[in-house]
């Protein structure tokens, strides 16, 4: 008996609405994030992550109000990522009720921002999001690189070394997304998940590619992830959080049921 592995549903939010579709309703406007968050909370989600894809800064105010509304009703940890570039951005999200913030591109362009944020707010609320792609060819030793701009721009940074550096700078958790797998439903890239999880002492959240419940099991058992994040398998009603937890429990993984 001990610490449970976590299941984290992820919601993409644009201008205060969940996008990407929930239960096959209109794809552009898939629901009120407060209602969606409450439903996942009732199903037993261990945390909820919001990815703010809002384009303009005026609209970001909407995200702050959304976080406030959710944090008043959902009493599990909330992470907000997307567009976090300054300590002021972090402060606003934490004051609104977020427990953690995800820093992605800003960390790549200015690693010192992670150090500053961790010193100011504590490592426990700084999640560094890493988007990685495999760059080694068949037959070569495995190598993954950090990409930005939705996986379009290579940075030349080795993903495992980058993860270690971010932890050294104060990241309290790593959210690892395989850009090769994201949206494929073929399962996590277990190689990079395991390589990073074994290289750092902080928890690693596996993301990108979940298509069925066995993929979640693989992420923990083979990928050594501390938490697994998924969006579409939950949004489209294919599986509930309870079903996912049951499958993981049946596989011998300790879960909060």
């Amino acid at each position: 008996m001990g610490l449970a592995k976590r299941i984290i549903p992820c919601l993409d939010v644009d201008n205060g609405r969940v996008v990407k579709g929930v239960q096959f309703v209109d794809i552009r406007d898939a629901g009120d994030p407060v209602e969606v968050a409450k439903r996942y909370n009732e199903q037993g989600a261990d945390e909820i992550t919001f990815l703010d894809i809002t384009a303009s800064s005026e609209d970001r105010e909407t995200t702050v109000h959304m976080v406030e509304a959710i944090a008043s009703q959902v009493f599990i940890p909330l992470t907000v990522g997307g567009g976090i570039r300054t300590c002021e951005d972090i402060r606003r999200m934490l004051n609104a009720g977020a427990d953690k913030v995800g820093i992605n591109t800003a960390a790549v362009f200015n690693p010192e921002f992670v150090r500053e944020a961790a010193q100011r707010f504590g490592s426990q609320c700084i999640v560094v999001a890493i988007d990685a792609k495999k760059v080694s060819a068949e037959g070569e030793p495995d190598k993954w690189e950090i990409f930005t701009h939705g996986g379009r721009k290579p940075t030349g940074l080795d993903a495992v070394e980058w993860a270690k550096k971010m932890v050294e700078y104060g990241a309290g958790e790593i959210l690892l997304t395989s850009m090769d797998r994201d949206g494929t439903k073929n399962g996590f890239d277990l190689g990079i998940t395991r390589a990073i999880s074994e290289a750092v002492h902080v928890p690693v959240i596996a993301s990108g590619g979940v298509g069925n419940l066995d993929h979640l099991v693989d992420g923990v058992i083979e990928g050594k992830a501390d938490a697994v994040l998924a969006a579409s398998i939950f949004h489209f009603g294919e599986y509930s959080i309870q079903q996912a937890k049951q499958r993981m429990t049946d596989a011998g993984i300790e879960m909060r049921l």
Binding site: G2, L3, S72, F75, L94, Q124, H201, P203, D226, A227
Partner: protein, 220 residues
């Protein structure tokens, strides 16, 4: 006119931010006669019926800000006389000393220290454990206490911490958790109760603990 006196719970704000979740969780379980006040005013704390000491961030800043804001006398006074709950870094701040930030003297309400899990923390079989201890772990009740009312023994609560408390007086331990070692996650003495986990992030069992606190008369 309803002149029933309002009961107040003061959530101490010593400038370390994010008290939103704590206040909202208390409001969620508070009845109509209870008001939740987030405050850095010693007079408000002195006048409150019960007091909650949250904790965020590193211990040196926490203790430093409590002193800078002139809150320590009110905190000690509250611990001497009314229902008092400390959470997360709050429990560490009540110990004698913490080894965080190179060593920091704390409020010494409970004799003992806050120690670091270490970056090479291992489970019972020698496997690597991540630090911080982050996520949902089971809390074993080691005593009966009004704050455990209607919370199942070994229910899971949400933790985020790298330091854990080791009290000298084992009779003050109210709950334990296992993460490579069995360690204290709840302390109780008289009208003071302190927990390492975050009740405001621990779903229904966490809300139940806050509800129990709002109904507690301060007797063990």
């Amino acid at each position: 006119m309803n002149d029933m006196k309002k009961s107040t719970v003061a959530v101490i704000d010593y400038g370390m931010g994010n008290l939103h979740s704590v206040a909202k969780a208390l409001e969620h379980v508070a009845d109509e006669h209870t008001s939740v006040i987030v405050t850095s005013d010693p007079a408000v704390i002195d006048a409150a019926d019960r007091v909650l000491l949250p904790g965020v961030g590193a211990i040196r800043d926490c203790i430093g800000e409590m002193y800078n804001a002139g809150l320590v006398p009110s905190i000690r006074k509250a611990m001497a006389e009314k229902p008092f709950l400390a959470i997360c870094v709050g429990i560490q701040s009540l110990m004698s000393h913490s080894e965080e930030n190179g060593g920091v003297d704390c409020l010494n309400h409970f004799k003992g220290n806050a120690l670091f899990f270490g970056e090479n923390h291992k489970d019972h079989d020698g496997g690597k454990l991540k630090v911080p201890h982050m996520g949902w772990n089971q809390v074993k009740h080691t005593i009966n206490h009004p704050l455990w009312a209607d919370i199942p023994d070994s229910a899971r609560f949400y933790f985020v911490h790298s330091f854990y408390v080791v009290p000298e007086n084992k009779n003050e331990v109210a709950g334990t958790c296992d993460y490579g070692l069995e360690f204290c996650v709840a302390l109780a003495r008289d009208n003071v109760f302190a927990v390492q986990f975050h009740p405001e992030k621990s779903h229904k069992d966490g809300l139940q603990l806050y509800k129990n606190f709002l109904q507690w008369d301060g007797k063990p």
